[in-house]
Protein backbone atom coordinates (compact mmCIF):
# COMPACT_ATOMS: atom_id res chain seq x y z
CA UNK A 1 0.00 0.00 0.00
CA UNK A 2 2.89 2.31 0.65
CA UNK A 3 3.70 2.51 -3.02
CA UNK A 4 0.35 4.21 -3.56
CA UNK A 5 1.52 7.16 -1.48
CA UNK A 6 3.46 9.79 -3.41
CA UNK A 7 7.13 9.61 -2.56
CA UNK A 8 7.37 13.18 -1.34
CA UNK A 9 4.55 12.82 1.11
CA UNK A 10 5.94 9.53 2.35
CA UNK A 11 9.25 11.13 3.22
CA UNK A 12 7.79 14.20 4.77
CA UNK A 13 5.55 12.11 6.97
CA UNK A 14 8.29 9.99 8.43
CA UNK A 15 10.91 12.66 8.66
CA UNK A 16 11.32 14.29 12.02
CA UNK A 17 9.69 17.69 12.21
CA UNK A 18 12.21 20.55 12.15
CA UNK A 19 13.39 21.84 15.49
CA UNK A 20 11.45 25.01 16.12
CA UNK A 21 12.46 27.79 18.35
CA UNK A 22 9.63 28.15 20.78
CA UNK A 23 9.42 31.61 22.20
CA UNK A 24 7.50 32.11 25.38
CA UNK A 25 4.06 33.51 24.76
CA UNK A 26 2.72 36.61 26.40
CA UNK A 27 -0.12 35.45 28.64
CA UNK A 28 -3.40 37.35 28.63
CA UNK A 29 -3.43 40.26 31.03
CA UNK A 30 -4.94 39.52 34.40
CA UNK A 31 -5.96 42.50 36.45
CA UNK A 32 -4.25 43.12 39.76
CA UNK A 33 -6.14 42.03 42.82
CA UNK A 34 -7.48 45.32 44.05
CA UNK A 35 -8.13 46.17 47.67
CA UNK A 36 -11.24 44.88 49.34
CA UNK A 37 -13.10 48.19 49.04
CA UNK A 38 -13.42 48.25 45.29
CA UNK A 39 -16.07 50.98 45.54
CA UNK A 40 -13.34 53.51 46.07
CA UNK A 41 -11.75 52.66 42.77
CA UNK A 42 -11.76 55.72 40.57
CA UNK A 43 -12.47 55.26 36.89
CA UNK A 44 -9.57 55.75 34.51
CA UNK A 45 -9.53 59.44 33.49
CA UNK A 46 -9.84 59.82 29.74
CA UNK A 47 -6.82 62.14 29.52
CA UNK A 48 -4.53 60.10 31.76
CA UNK A 49 -2.56 58.59 28.91
CA UNK A 50 -2.13 61.88 27.04
CA UNK A 51 -1.16 63.98 30.05
CA UNK A 52 1.12 61.39 31.68
CA UNK A 53 2.27 59.20 28.77
CA UNK A 54 5.55 58.27 30.42
CA UNK A 55 3.73 56.45 33.21
CA UNK A 56 2.80 53.77 30.70
CA UNK A 57 5.64 51.25 30.32
CA UNK A 58 7.36 50.32 27.09
CA UNK A 59 5.00 47.73 25.55
CA UNK A 60 7.80 45.50 24.26
CA UNK A 61 7.14 42.20 26.11
CA UNK A 62 10.79 41.19 26.34
CA UNK A 63 11.55 44.18 28.52
CA UNK A 64 8.47 44.13 30.72
CA UNK A 65 8.67 43.47 34.43
CA UNK A 66 5.94 44.50 36.83
CA UNK A 67 8.17 45.06 39.84
CA UNK A 68 10.66 47.20 37.92
CA UNK A 69 7.87 49.29 36.46
CA UNK A 70 6.39 49.85 39.89
CA UNK A 71 9.72 50.90 41.37
CA UNK A 72 10.25 53.21 38.42
CA UNK A 73 6.85 54.82 38.88
CA UNK A 74 7.57 55.31 42.58
CA UNK A 75 10.76 57.16 41.71
CA UNK A 76 8.92 59.26 39.15
CA UNK A 77 6.26 60.25 41.66
CA UNK A 78 8.92 61.12 44.21
CA UNK A 79 10.67 63.34 41.71
CA UNK A 80 7.40 64.96 40.67
CA UNK A 81 6.67 65.83 44.28
CA UNK A 82 9.91 67.84 44.31
CA UNK A 83 9.69 69.51 40.89
CA UNK A 84 6.31 69.95 39.25
CA UNK A 85 6.34 68.68 35.69
CA UNK A 86 3.44 70.44 33.98
CA UNK A 87 1.12 69.17 31.32
CA UNK A 88 2.51 69.83 27.86
CA UNK A 89 2.12 68.61 24.32
CA UNK A 90 4.01 68.68 21.06
CA UNK A 91 3.71 72.29 19.92
CA UNK A 92 3.57 73.83 23.41
CA UNK A 93 6.02 76.62 24.10
CA UNK A 94 8.04 75.95 27.21
CA UNK A 95 10.79 77.46 29.32
CA UNK A 96 13.17 75.15 31.16
CA UNK A 97 15.64 76.22 33.83
CA UNK A 98 18.49 73.84 34.59
CA UNK A 99 21.43 73.92 36.93
CA UNK A 100 24.56 74.47 34.86
CA UNK A 101 28.01 74.52 36.40
CA UNK A 102 29.42 76.50 33.48
CA UNK A 103 26.79 79.21 33.29
CA UNK A 104 27.58 82.56 34.86
CA UNK A 105 24.77 82.47 37.42
CA UNK A 106 24.90 78.64 37.62
CA UNK A 107 21.48 78.29 36.01
CA UNK A 108 20.52 78.21 32.38
CA UNK A 109 17.10 79.06 30.99
CA UNK A 110 15.97 78.18 27.51
CA UNK A 111 12.67 78.93 25.80
CA UNK A 112 11.42 76.97 22.83
CA UNK A 113 8.71 75.01 21.15
CA UNK A 114 8.42 71.33 22.00
CA UNK A 115 9.06 69.50 18.73
CA UNK A 116 9.26 65.92 19.94
CA UNK A 117 8.72 63.92 23.06
CA UNK A 118 9.42 60.31 23.95
CA UNK A 119 10.74 57.71 26.33
CA UNK A 120 9.01 55.89 29.12
CA UNK A 121 9.56 55.97 32.83
CA UNK A 122 12.63 57.77 34.08
CA UNK A 123 14.00 57.90 30.53
CA UNK A 124 11.30 60.33 29.36
CA UNK A 125 12.64 63.26 27.34
CA UNK A 126 11.50 66.18 25.21
CA UNK A 127 13.12 68.44 22.64
CA UNK A 128 12.83 72.23 22.57
CA UNK A 129 13.59 74.34 19.51
CA UNK A 130 14.10 78.07 19.11
CA UNK A 131 15.88 80.50 16.80
CA UNK A 132 18.15 82.86 18.73
CA UNK A 133 20.16 85.53 16.90
CA UNK A 134 19.12 83.94 13.57
CA UNK A 135 20.65 80.68 14.73
CA UNK A 136 18.41 77.62 15.04
CA UNK A 137 18.97 75.73 18.30
CA UNK A 138 17.57 72.59 19.81
CA UNK A 139 18.06 71.22 23.31
CA UNK A 140 16.97 67.85 24.59
CA UNK A 141 15.91 67.58 28.23
CA UNK A 142 15.42 64.52 30.36
CA UNK A 143 12.23 65.08 32.29
CA UNK A 144 13.38 63.40 35.49
CA UNK A 145 16.94 64.66 35.53
CA UNK A 146 17.74 66.26 38.90
CA UNK A 147 19.49 69.11 37.08
CA UNK A 148 16.12 70.51 36.05
CA UNK A 149 15.11 73.31 38.37
CA UNK A 150 11.89 74.43 36.79
CA UNK A 151 9.69 73.67 33.80
CA UNK A 152 7.17 76.31 32.71
CA UNK A 153 4.64 76.09 29.94
CA UNK A 154 4.34 79.54 28.37
CA UNK A 155 1.72 78.66 25.81
CA UNK A 156 -0.22 75.42 26.17
CA UNK A 157 -1.39 74.25 22.78
CA UNK A 158 -1.28 71.34 20.39
CA UNK A 159 -0.41 71.22 16.72
CA UNK A 160 -1.80 69.20 13.85
CA UNK A 161 1.14 66.80 13.74
CA UNK A 162 2.63 64.40 16.26
CA UNK A 163 6.19 65.54 15.67
CA UNK A 164 7.31 68.95 14.57
CA UNK A 165 10.72 67.91 13.28
CA UNK A 166 9.88 69.64 9.99
CA UNK A 167 10.42 72.97 11.74
CA UNK A 168 14.12 72.35 11.09
CA UNK A 169 13.39 72.79 7.40
CA UNK A 170 10.81 75.53 7.83
CA UNK A 171 11.43 79.24 7.56
CA UNK A 172 12.99 80.51 10.78
CA UNK A 173 10.07 82.73 11.76
CA UNK A 174 7.97 79.64 12.53
CA UNK A 175 10.31 78.58 15.30
CA UNK A 176 11.36 81.98 16.64
CA UNK A 177 10.15 82.80 20.14
CA UNK A 178 11.36 85.63 22.36
CA UNK A 179 13.35 84.53 25.40
CA UNK A 180 11.39 86.89 27.65
CA UNK A 181 8.05 85.58 26.50
CA UNK A 182 5.19 86.05 28.95
CA UNK A 183 3.00 83.07 29.93
CA UNK A 184 -0.31 83.20 28.12
CA UNK A 185 -3.82 82.99 29.49
CA UNK A 186 -5.82 79.81 29.37
CA UNK A 187 -9.31 79.94 30.91
CA UNK A 188 -9.99 77.53 33.76
CA UNK A 189 -11.27 74.20 32.54
CA UNK A 190 -10.90 75.06 28.88
CA UNK A 191 -9.76 72.32 26.51
CA UNK A 192 -6.23 72.54 25.15
CA UNK A 193 -6.42 74.62 21.95
CA UNK A 194 -5.14 73.19 18.70
CA UNK A 195 -3.05 75.56 16.64
CA UNK A 196 -3.82 74.83 12.98
CA UNK A 197 -1.03 76.98 11.61
CA UNK A 198 0.40 75.84 8.27
CA UNK A 199 4.16 76.15 8.08
CA UNK A 200 6.08 77.07 4.94
CA UNK A 201 9.14 74.95 4.31
CA UNK A 202 12.36 76.03 2.68
CA UNK A 203 13.19 74.53 -0.73
CA UNK A 204 14.88 71.12 -0.79
CA UNK A 205 17.21 69.49 0.29
CA UNK A 206 15.58 68.68 3.58
CA UNK A 207 16.48 66.61 6.57
CA UNK A 208 13.81 64.08 5.64
CA UNK A 209 11.47 63.46 2.74
CA UNK A 210 8.56 65.35 4.18
CA UNK A 211 6.29 64.59 1.24
CA UNK A 212 6.22 60.98 2.47
CA UNK A 213 5.20 61.81 6.02
CA UNK A 214 1.59 62.85 5.45
CA UNK A 215 2.06 66.15 7.29
CA UNK A 216 -0.96 68.25 8.16
CA UNK A 217 0.71 71.38 9.45
CA UNK A 218 2.68 72.41 6.34
CA UNK A 219 1.77 74.48 3.30
CA UNK A 220 1.93 73.04 -0.19
CA UNK A 221 5.42 71.63 -0.62
CA UNK A 222 5.59 72.69 -4.27
CA UNK A 223 7.41 69.62 -5.49
CA UNK A 224 7.24 68.11 -8.99
CA UNK A 225 4.70 65.33 -9.41
CA UNK A 226 7.38 62.60 -9.46
CA UNK A 227 8.04 63.14 -5.74
CA UNK A 228 4.42 62.46 -4.89
CA UNK A 229 4.42 59.44 -7.17
CA UNK A 230 7.42 58.07 -5.32
CA UNK A 231 5.78 58.86 -2.00
CA UNK A 232 2.74 56.93 -3.10
CA UNK A 233 4.91 53.85 -3.64
CA UNK A 234 6.19 54.06 -0.07
CA UNK A 235 2.79 54.36 1.54
CA UNK A 236 1.66 51.55 3.80
CA UNK A 237 -2.12 51.82 3.70
CA UNK A 238 -2.60 48.34 5.16
CA UNK A 239 -1.02 49.22 8.45
CA UNK A 240 -4.19 50.76 9.79
CA UNK A 241 -5.88 47.36 9.41
CA UNK A 242 -3.09 45.49 11.18
CA UNK A 243 -4.92 45.05 14.46
CA UNK A 244 -2.20 43.06 16.15
CA UNK A 245 0.55 45.52 15.26
CA UNK A 246 -1.62 48.19 16.83
CA UNK A 247 -2.19 46.00 19.87
CA UNK A 248 1.48 45.16 20.36
CA UNK A 249 2.33 48.87 20.40
CA UNK A 250 -0.17 49.75 23.13
CA UNK A 251 -0.72 49.09 26.79
CA UNK A 252 -4.17 47.50 27.23
CA UNK A 253 -6.95 49.45 28.88
CA UNK A 254 -7.17 47.16 31.90
CA UNK A 255 -3.47 47.54 32.56
CA UNK A 256 -3.69 51.31 32.26
CA UNK A 257 -6.48 51.21 34.83
CA UNK A 258 -4.25 49.20 37.16
CA UNK A 259 -1.40 51.65 36.71
CA UNK A 260 -3.75 54.48 37.45
CA UNK A 261 -5.08 52.68 40.50
CA UNK A 262 -1.54 52.24 41.75
CA UNK A 263 -0.71 55.93 41.49
CA UNK A 264 -4.20 57.08 42.50
CA UNK A 265 -3.10 58.15 46.03
CA UNK A 266 -0.71 60.61 44.39
CA UNK A 267 -3.05 61.55 41.56
CA UNK A 268 -4.75 64.32 43.50
CA UNK A 269 -1.39 65.93 44.10
CA UNK A 270 -0.40 65.59 40.46
CA UNK A 271 -3.66 67.09 39.32
CA UNK A 272 -3.52 69.96 41.79
CA UNK A 273 0.00 70.87 40.66
CA UNK A 274 -1.23 70.66 37.09
CA UNK A 275 -4.18 72.95 37.88
CA UNK A 276 -1.93 75.31 39.81
CA UNK A 277 0.40 75.68 36.87
CA UNK A 278 -2.58 76.54 34.67
CA UNK A 279 -3.89 79.05 37.20
CA UNK A 280 -0.46 80.58 37.47
CA UNK A 281 -0.56 81.00 33.73
CA UNK A 282 -3.83 82.84 34.10
CA UNK A 283 -2.63 85.03 37.00
CA UNK A 284 0.63 86.09 35.48
CA UNK A 285 -1.00 87.10 32.24
CA UNK A 286 -3.65 89.16 34.04
CA UNK A 287 -1.36 92.05 34.86
Amino acid sequence: MLSAVPRRIFHTFFRKPPAQRVTAKVPPYIRDQLDSNTDNEQPLPHDFRTVYPEFLPDPRPEWRNRLRERLERNDMLTRRSVVAIPEFYIGSIMAVTVGDRNASDKTNRFVGICISRGGTGLRAWFNLRNVIDHQGLEIMYEMYSPLIRNIEVLRLEKRLDEELLYLRDALPEYSTFPLDMEPELLPEGAPVPINDIKVKLKPRPWHERWERKNLQGVQDLGLPQRFYNKAKLHEKPWEKYDLMMEYRATIPEEEQADIFHEIAPHYQQLESSRRQSKRRLAQTSRY
Binding site: V98, D100, R101, N102, A103, S104, N108, F110, W125, I132, D133, H134, Q135, G136, L137, E138, I139, M140, Y141, E142, S145, L147, R168, K202, P203, R204, P205
Partner: protein
Protein backbone atom coordinates in the same frame (compact mmCIF):
# COMPACT_ATOMS: atom_id res chain seq x y z
CA UNK B 1 16.17 80.12 -8.86
CA UNK B 2 15.03 82.74 -11.25
CA UNK B 3 14.03 85.00 -8.41
CA UNK B 4 17.67 85.74 -7.64
CA UNK B 5 18.20 86.84 -11.20
CA UNK B 6 20.71 84.13 -12.04
CA UNK B 7 20.24 80.96 -14.02
CA UNK B 8 21.34 77.63 -12.63
CA UNK B 9 24.40 77.44 -14.89
CA UNK B 10 25.57 80.85 -13.85
CA UNK B 11 25.17 79.99 -10.24
CA UNK B 12 27.11 76.81 -10.61
CA UNK B 13 29.91 78.62 -12.31
CA UNK B 14 29.87 81.32 -9.70
CA UNK B 15 30.25 78.94 -6.84
CA UNK B 16 32.65 76.51 -8.46
CA UNK B 17 36.28 76.58 -7.28
CA UNK B 18 38.59 79.21 -8.87
CA UNK B 19 40.73 76.81 -10.93
CA UNK B 20 37.64 75.59 -12.73
CA UNK B 21 36.58 79.13 -13.45
CA UNK B 22 39.82 79.83 -15.23
CA UNK B 23 39.13 77.13 -17.79
CA UNK B 24 35.92 78.74 -18.99
CA UNK B 25 36.10 82.46 -19.24
CA UNK B 26 33.24 84.18 -17.50
CA UNK B 27 30.95 85.98 -19.86
CA UNK B 28 30.03 89.57 -19.45
CA UNK B 29 27.05 90.19 -17.24
CA UNK B 30 27.90 87.30 -15.01
CA UNK B 31 29.56 89.59 -12.53
CA UNK B 32 26.27 91.33 -11.92
CA UNK B 33 24.57 88.03 -11.35
CA UNK B 34 27.37 86.94 -9.06
CA UNK B 35 27.02 90.04 -7.01
CA UNK B 36 23.32 89.58 -6.73
CA UNK B 37 23.98 86.01 -5.77
CA UNK B 38 26.43 86.88 -3.02
CA UNK B 39 23.93 89.38 -1.76
CA UNK B 40 21.36 86.67 -1.55
CA UNK B 41 23.88 84.47 0.18
CA UNK B 42 24.28 87.12 2.78
CA UNK B 43 20.58 87.07 3.53
CA UNK B 44 19.72 83.40 3.47
CA UNK B 45 22.81 81.23 3.24
CA UNK B 46 20.80 78.08 3.80
CA UNK B 47 18.86 78.63 0.62
CA UNK B 48 22.08 78.93 -1.31
CA UNK B 49 23.41 75.69 0.05
CA UNK B 50 20.10 74.10 -0.76
CA UNK B 51 20.27 75.36 -4.31
CA UNK B 52 23.80 74.12 -4.70
CA UNK B 53 23.05 70.64 -3.53
CA UNK B 54 20.01 70.47 -5.72
CA UNK B 55 22.04 71.64 -8.64
CA UNK B 56 24.79 69.09 -8.24
CA UNK B 57 22.45 66.29 -7.09
CA UNK B 58 25.05 65.36 -4.53
CA UNK B 59 24.83 65.14 -0.78
CA UNK B 60 28.21 65.35 0.80
CA UNK B 61 27.19 65.20 4.44
CA UNK B 62 26.59 61.81 5.94
CA UNK B 63 23.37 60.95 7.67
CA UNK B 64 25.01 61.24 11.07
CA UNK B 65 26.17 64.77 10.21
CA UNK B 66 29.63 64.13 11.53
CA UNK B 67 32.21 66.85 11.25
CA UNK B 68 35.08 65.19 9.48
CA UNK B 69 37.45 65.98 6.65
CA UNK B 70 35.76 67.77 3.73
CA UNK B 71 32.83 68.95 5.87
CA UNK B 72 31.82 72.51 5.04
CA UNK B 73 31.58 74.74 8.06
CA UNK B 74 30.16 78.15 8.83
CA UNK B 75 32.28 80.97 10.22
CA UNK B 76 30.29 82.85 12.84
CA UNK B 77 32.78 85.53 13.91
CA UNK B 78 33.32 88.88 12.25
CA UNK B 79 36.89 88.31 11.03
CA UNK B 80 37.57 89.74 7.59
CA UNK B 81 38.68 86.40 6.23
CA UNK B 82 35.68 84.51 7.50
CA UNK B 83 33.20 87.18 6.50
CA UNK B 84 34.48 87.44 2.96
CA UNK B 85 34.60 83.67 2.57
CA UNK B 86 31.02 83.31 3.68
CA UNK B 87 29.87 86.22 1.55
CA UNK B 88 31.50 84.79 -1.53
CA UNK B 89 29.63 81.56 -1.00
CA UNK B 90 32.82 79.60 -0.46
CA UNK B 91 32.45 78.33 3.09
CA UNK B 92 35.57 76.81 4.63
CA UNK B 93 36.14 73.07 4.57
CA UNK B 94 37.44 71.04 7.43
CA UNK B 95 40.72 69.42 6.44
CA UNK B 96 41.73 68.02 9.81
CA UNK B 97 40.18 67.41 13.22
CA UNK B 98 42.59 67.61 16.13
CA UNK B 99 41.38 64.62 18.08
CA UNK B 100 41.92 60.90 17.93
CA UNK B 101 38.58 59.99 16.42
CA UNK B 102 38.65 62.33 13.46
CA UNK B 103 35.07 63.35 14.23
CA UNK B 104 34.70 66.88 15.55
CA UNK B 105 32.43 67.65 18.50
CA UNK B 106 31.59 70.87 20.25
CA UNK B 107 34.77 72.62 21.42
CA UNK B 108 37.17 70.59 19.28
CA UNK B 109 39.89 72.26 17.25
CA UNK B 110 39.86 71.82 13.49
CA UNK B 111 42.05 72.90 10.60
CA UNK B 112 40.09 74.50 7.80
CA UNK B 113 40.83 75.48 4.23
CA UNK B 114 39.46 78.94 3.76
CA UNK B 115 40.07 81.02 0.64
CA UNK B 116 43.17 79.11 -0.22
CA UNK B 117 44.64 79.44 3.28
CA UNK B 118 44.96 77.00 6.13
CA UNK B 119 43.52 78.30 9.39
CA UNK B 120 42.78 76.74 12.74
CA UNK B 121 39.32 77.08 14.18
CA UNK B 122 37.25 76.04 17.17
CA UNK B 123 33.89 74.31 16.71
CA UNK B 124 31.33 76.33 18.64
CA UNK B 125 28.24 74.43 17.61
CA UNK B 126 27.46 71.16 15.86
CA UNK B 127 24.51 69.97 13.87
CA UNK B 128 24.72 66.30 14.81
CA UNK B 129 22.66 64.87 17.67
CA UNK B 130 23.94 65.93 21.06
CA UNK B 131 23.71 64.64 24.60
CA UNK B 132 20.91 65.94 26.81
CA UNK B 133 21.28 69.60 27.82
CA UNK B 134 23.87 70.24 25.09
CA UNK B 135 22.46 72.52 22.39
CA UNK B 136 22.25 71.21 18.87
CA UNK B 137 22.73 73.89 16.24
CA UNK B 138 21.24 74.12 12.76
CA UNK B 139 24.70 74.67 11.27
CA UNK B 140 28.26 73.64 12.05
CA UNK B 141 29.72 76.83 13.47
CA UNK B 142 33.38 77.69 13.81
CA UNK B 143 35.40 80.59 15.15
CA UNK B 144 38.74 81.16 13.40
CA UNK B 145 41.76 81.33 15.70
CA UNK B 146 45.46 81.86 15.17
CA UNK B 147 48.35 79.71 16.50
CA UNK B 148 48.11 81.28 19.95
CA UNK B 149 44.44 80.53 20.24
CA UNK B 150 43.34 84.14 19.88
CA UNK B 151 40.29 84.63 17.68
CA UNK B 152 40.76 86.49 14.38
CA UNK B 153 37.49 88.39 14.81
CA UNK B 154 36.24 90.60 17.56
CA UNK B 155 32.69 89.39 17.94
CA UNK B 156 30.68 86.16 17.61
CA UNK B 157 27.19 86.92 16.37
CA UNK B 158 25.45 83.65 17.34
CA UNK B 159 25.01 81.99 20.73
CA UNK B 160 27.64 79.52 21.91
CA UNK B 161 27.20 76.69 24.44
CA UNK B 162 28.19 77.30 28.06
CA UNK B 163 30.03 73.99 27.94
CA UNK B 164 32.78 75.82 25.99
CA UNK B 165 33.75 77.63 29.20
CA UNK B 166 34.91 74.36 30.67
CA UNK B 167 36.23 72.79 27.50
CA UNK B 168 38.27 75.78 26.31
CA UNK B 169 39.72 76.35 29.76
CA UNK B 170 40.84 72.73 29.82
CA UNK B 171 42.35 73.04 26.33
CA UNK B 172 44.36 76.17 27.22
CA UNK B 173 47.89 75.88 28.61
CA UNK B 174 49.31 78.31 31.20
CA UNK B 175 52.18 79.60 29.06
CA UNK B 176 51.01 78.29 25.72
CA UNK B 177 47.84 78.67 23.71
CA UNK B 178 44.91 80.41 25.33
CA UNK B 179 41.52 79.77 23.80
CA UNK B 180 39.52 81.49 26.49
CA UNK B 181 39.56 84.75 24.55
CA UNK B 182 36.78 83.24 22.43
CA UNK B 183 34.58 83.34 25.50
CA UNK B 184 35.28 87.04 25.89
CA UNK B 185 34.06 87.91 22.38
CA UNK B 186 30.85 85.83 22.63
CA UNK B 187 27.60 87.76 22.73
CA UNK B 188 25.34 85.14 24.16
CA UNK B 189 25.57 81.75 25.86
CA UNK B 190 22.92 79.06 25.76
Amino acid sequence: MERWGASMKEIERAISPPHEQKKSKPKEGLTGAKERWTEAMNVVPAILRAARCEGSRLHTSSSLRHIQKQTRLRVVDNSELGKSAMLEGRPPRCIHVYNKKGIGRTGDKVLVAIKGQKKQAILTGCHQDQFPLMPKFDSNNIVLVDENGSPLGTRIHVPIPTFLRKKLTEMSRPKGVDYTKILAIATRFV
